[in-house]
Amino acid sequence: MSSVRVLVGTKKGAFILTADGTRRNWNVSGPHFAGWELYHLKGSSVDPNRIYASQSSGWFGQVIQRSDDGGKTWNPPGTKPEELMSPDGMPKGASNMFAYEGEVGTHKFYDGSQHPWEFKRVWHIEPSLTDPDTAYAGVEDAAIFKTTDGGRTWHELPGLRGAKGALWQPGAGGMCLHTILLDPQNEKRIYVAISAAGAFRTDDGGQTWKPINKGLKSPYELPDPDAEVGHCVHRIALHPSKPGTLFMQKHWDVLRSDNGGDLWNEVSGNLPSDFGFPIDVHAHNPETIYVVPITSDSLHYPPDGKLRVYRSKSGGNEWEPLTKGLPQKDCYVNVYRDAMAVDTLEDCGIYFGTTGGQVYCSPDGGDTWDAIVRDLPAVLSVEVQTLK
C-alpha cells in the first residue's frame, strides 16, 4: 500500500510525519536538529530515501544535512568519520560553504545604497529530477548554488546575479531565493523566484538567466510600471505535465503565465485578499490551484480570523473557500511560502503548516481537513513524499 512522508521544517527543528495512504493515523518523529531553524527539507524523486535539509542558526550559521535512509539518520555530507580517512588528506568540511563566485558585487539595500552580497542561509533545496547527488540551493543573499556530489560541495551559478542583480533589494524577510522549479520536460530550463527581485528563468541549465516579470504590477513598492526587477514574488508553482504554465502568489496579486513566464496575467478574481505566501497545484489536474489568503502585508493573518484555503478549478479567477476542519474563528496564524505541498495519491492530499505549529492535511484535494499535529514550533516549510 502507498504511504506518505511529510517533511516539516520549523523554527526549532525538523519533524517527519508518516502515514499510510488513508492519511488518518500519523506517526511523528522529531525534533531532528532540535533548537535549530530548519528552513527546508526535500527528498529526491529519484531516490526517496535521499533527503536534504537546510539547518541554520543565527549563532552558528549554515549546516547542510543529508539522510540516505529516509530521515532515520543524518550526516552533514563529507564529514563522516570514515571520510576523514581519504588518502588525499582531511576533507574540507565544505558542505556548508556557500561562496559567491568571482567579484561578489553589490545589490540595492533597504536605504537605497549599494550593499555587498553576504551569505546568510539556505532557504530552499531542490533535488535534481534525474540524479540524487545533484541538487540546487536557493540562498540569502539571493543566489543559486548547485551540488553534483551529494552536498559535499556547492558552487554558485553566478549568471543569475548578472540579471540586474545590482537592482535587487531585500524584502522584510531578507533578500532570499526561495523557489526553484525544475522543468521536467526540459532539463535546461529552471525557474527561480526571489524576494524582492522577481522571477527568473534559464534555458541553458543555469549559465544565463533573464527576468520574467512582465505583467506584474507592484505600484506601492515599484512606482515604475515597467520595472523588470524588484518585484516581491512570494512563490511560483507549476504542474509537471504542463511546465510552461506557471502560477504565482506575489506580495499582492495571484497571477498565471501560459508562456513560461514571458507574460503574466492577474487571476486573483474573487479572493477575499490577494495577499499571501504559498501557492500550489493539484497533483492530477494542472488547472486546480490552491492559495491561503492573508489579510495584508501589515496584518499577517487570515481575513476575519478564519483559516481558509482557496481552490480554483479553473486556473484562477474563480475561487472557492475550503473550510471544513479548519478553524473558522479566532485564528491568527500565517502560512509561509514553502509551507504547502501536495502528494500524488489518487485523491491528491494537500498539506500546509502554520506559524502556530499546526500541520493540516486534506486527504481529498481540499474538501476536508484535519490537523496532523497542533503544537509544533512555527512551521517554515512542508514537503511531502508519496512512497509506493
Binding site: 535549530w36 543565527g58 549563532w59 564529514t79 582531511m90 576533507p91 565544505a94 556548508n96
Partner: protein, 98 residues
Amino acid sequence: MVRVVLPFHLRNLAQIDGELAIEVPPPVTVKSVLDALEARFPVLRGTIRDHGTHKRRAFIRFFACRDDLSLEPPDTQLPNAVVEGREPFLVVGAMAGG
C-alpha cells in the same frame, strides 16, 4: 592537550559528549586551537568562524581563565593554564533572546 568546551548545539553537531581534549602544536593560540578543532571535526567549519576569512561569527565568544578573548587578535597566545590543560578554552554562544 588543550581542553575545549563547546556550546550545546556544536557538541550535538560534532557528536561530542562533554569537553574535548585536543593536541595543539605550539604556539597555542586562539587560531591554532580552532584550526586543530576544525581539522578533527570538519563539520564545525563555518560554525565558529567564517569560511575563508576565519573571522569570528558575530554571536560566538571565546573565554579562558575568566578572560574574554573574543576581541583579541587570533594569534594571541593562550594562558599557560590552558596550554597545560589545567583550564579549558571555552567557545560560548553569546546570550541573546527575549
